[in-house]
């Protein structure tokens, strides 16, 4: 029972992004400025140096702010497309 691929990735795949702080490489995708998908790998998790395990019970969830910033930067630079912006799709 193989799970199928996401229909949204057919014409707009995930793109590699390297963290500016530690070089960890993930796959990211932005369908708009606010939407973000991030696919981590075991290697990226092992490389990440700024991982904040958070405190879920008090509403702070595990995250890496450095990587978040790097993806935002990649979107601003045009290194990864933002689909809703002009000419983003395709």
């Amino acid at each position: 029972m193989a799970v199928r691929p996401d229909n949204r990735l057919a014409d707009a795949p995930m793109h590699p992004v390297s963290c500016q702080a530690c070089g960890a490489s993930v796959l990211a995708r932005k369908s708009s400025w606010q939407q973000t998908s991030v696919q981590w790998s075991e290697a990226a998790m092992a490389t990440c140096r700024s991982w904040d395990p958070g405190d879920p019970f008090h509403g702070r969830h595990p995250a890496c702010e450095e990587l978040r910033g790097s993806i935002a930067q990649a979107a601003t630079d045009g290194t990864i497309p933002v689909l809703e912006s002009d000419g983003g799709r395709g």
Partner: protein, 392 residues
Amino acid sequence: MTVLETTVLETDGDQVRRIEFEAAPTRFARGWHCIGLERTFRDGKPHSITAFGKKLVVFENSSGELNVLDAYCRHMGGDLSQGTIKGDEVACPFHDWRWGGDGRCKQIPYSRRVPMRARTQAWQTMLQDGLVFVWNDPEGNPPIPEQAIPLIEGGPSTPGWTDWAWYETRVETNCREIIDNLVDMAHFFYVHHGFPTYFKNVFEGHTATQLQKGVNRDDMRPAEKKIGAPKRLGNTSAATYYGPSFMIDDLLYHYADGDVKTVLINCHYPIDENSFVLMYGISMERPDDGPEDPEEAAKLTQKLVDTVRLGFEQDVAIWKNKTRIDNPLLCEEDGPVYQLRRWYEQFYTDVADVTPEMTERFEFELDTTKPNEAWRREVDENLARRAQEQDS
């Protein structure tokens, strides 16, 4: 009528999209499954449940452990759940064969000795936070330590919190439907009359999380009004599945006079591939300035869980009539249904065949801007129409 500006993306000609699905798997998920409240099973009688496609017997031994066995006696097929508990064993009503919690026949009162291979299937159990859990593994291996259900912070084991207000109900569909809900942001508006303003999912290892913030809809005569629960302004929720079927939701309800902290459990076990038992419960922190009387707090908890019940009934109405679909056609404002199912697949796969894609961390933060614009407009129109109807 609202006219939404929706961009129709170019498709390959005029081809009709087909809904595709395979039959639900007859294999059942590996992992801990909650089968209900501990106190239900502590009445000195064996209990019958149907789970993982089999009839099971649940019984308490003399040291207070709860045991789960295949219900059918290996002697002549009697139903052990109709029998009696005798000491540490469950006795078959047919010929009084005695079965221990380890699955072995301990004695046959009318026989000199127990025959070879007098062993039936036993499930490992765990008791925690007033709940009973059963480990299911089609490969027959013991529980995976890393997949233990965490103790609940807040909840009945924490001083100042109410006992579970609990519901159980049978649902006639495959349990993948309820898993899909974890990522389905838009259904919270259309089915549950909620208004999500923030929505994010994270899958990692054997956990799958939904972070959600929502506001109340002014156009909906709140369902909670009907049951006499107070009007709420919104909620903040952090819900995580630990394994295939047990979700702990740290759920904060916002009211005009302050927040109420609750823990919501949403869990299920499969009866067979086409039905499951859905269970949910709420425990609430008694507010400092709230009712001193524990009875009062319990009543409020009951009202909260009644609201949750209304929500699940709305889901069930959809599930009853919908089709299974393996190729959902998603728009960009939908959540990560495919990635969730990829995560869920690990529990239906032999441990040796679980792939990194099933367990590696995946994050999906939804953009609620466009949905919120559309919903705000719909809410405003509903309010305007209602005002007009009242005027005329």
